[in-house]
Symmetry: C2
Subunit: 215 residues, 2 copies
DNA sequence: GCCACTACAAACCGGTCGGTATGTATGGTG
DNA sequence: CACCATACATACCGACCGGTTTGTAGTGGC
């Protein structure tokens, strides 16, 4: 019943799966999860529905795998890649990260926004599985910032009267909000300005004794 | 061909239109614009497709009208209602607004997030008409904050080395990011914490000469 | 070199979507 | 009171959606 006339390439299941994940990422990044069409994803990946449903149970499973295997890694690499191995004090390191992100903005980042936050805003009220995974990544991110701040508190480079966890959560929220507003305004300068404001804000987290040499 | 058996109530075109706008607002707030079903909106409004397409050209027109006539007003009322008539200095007024919002959080606000930002994140890359309207509202909001800060700069209650417009844009972005992250975390305390952090941040915008009496 | 199983390809399906065609009840106007 | 534009209600449509079924080509193990 299936004519089977078309190309049949050499088999490469892992590569096929990754092509699907990447195509799903790109389609979903632009259209959102619900509005992303499987046919569009398949066309972009260059495979057929048979391949998709061989590798994934349904559209939701594709979305979950895409989150776990594409989005989370990308985000954590972008925003806390240099956080662990940096030898500077945590605030300087964070400022460096923010300013590096501001410099390296791609047009896609401004136009489409943060893939994690996009999914969060779309899916959180609709699907607990999505919300749980997304929130887990936000939590990892926040925890990493918080631990960096705590290290700074331990060695005296960060004010000790702060709740590191709450400051970290604020930073993540401000980053995502800045990306989102810049996307709505289609303005890379707006995003750069907000990231710079965050870097300046970080300066206010240094102990008073350290303020002198910086002003 | 149309049996016309059902109830036909008294005519009230304005009320019907408003019922449609309100139903659209609620469905879209939860599901997003693209995923919001016209049938669900009609069921919620208690009218039929004939009524909808009598009042609006298509789904997009309904969305645009809903933005202009429901969302924008709601947002500006929430976030800059008391900004004009307050007699306190602008920073204190803004702190009051943030803390009042933190106290008056409804479960719906935390679960569903900001309707304007939801639409912004979903529709900005897909539809210039949506993006333009949404961005206009963000702009009005930012401008109102900026003008309040400028008034403070004029009367000496706000530092003059700040770019009021950029600070205002940062505030709006941080607010939206905070709402978005709290929605993902399903956490009203997180939103309250972030709004409080913003209020504290505002304190740092006072001139140095005014710092003494506050610390 | 055959075989069993994996990794797909292609056709197909019911359901839902936004949108339209058509008809009619309502209520102001002459 | 006749008329007619307005304000709907209902039935219907093609397109597309996610998902399933069916068939088969590639491929490692023996």
């Amino acid at each position: 019943m299936a004519p089977q006339v078309a190309r049949r390439r050499t088999r490469a299941p892992d590569a096929t799966r990754e092509r699907l994940l990447r195509a799903a990422f790109e389609e979903i990044h632009r259209h959102g999860f619900q509005a992303a069409s499987l046919d569009a994803i398949l066309a972009r990946a260059g495979v057929t529905k048979g391949a998709l449903y061989h590798h994934f149970a349904d559209k939701a499973a594709l979305g979950h795998a895409m989150l776990d295997e594409v989005v989370t890694g990308l985000l954590l690499q972008r925003w806390l890649g240099r956080l662990q191995q940096s030898e500077a004090d945590p605030l300087t390191t964070l400022q460096g990260i923010f300013r590096e992100r501001a410099e390296r903005l791609t047009p896609q980042e401004v136009e489409l926004g943060c893939p994690l936050n996009n999914l969060a805003q779309e899916m959180s009220p609709l699907d607990e599985q999505f919300r749980g995974r997304i929130n887990g990544t936000f939590d990892t991110w926040t925890e990493a910032f918080a631990r960096a701040l705590e290290r700074g508190q331990a060695n005296g480079s960060v004010r000790r009267d702060l709740d590191a966890r709450r400051v970290a959560a604020f930073l993540v929220a401000a980053i995502e909000g800045s990306i989102g507003l810049a996307k709505s305004a289609k303005s890379a300068p707006m995003l750069r300005s907000n990231l710079e404001m965050l870097a300046v804000f970080l300066e206010s987290l240094r102990p008073a004794s350290a303020m002198g040499k910086l002003q």
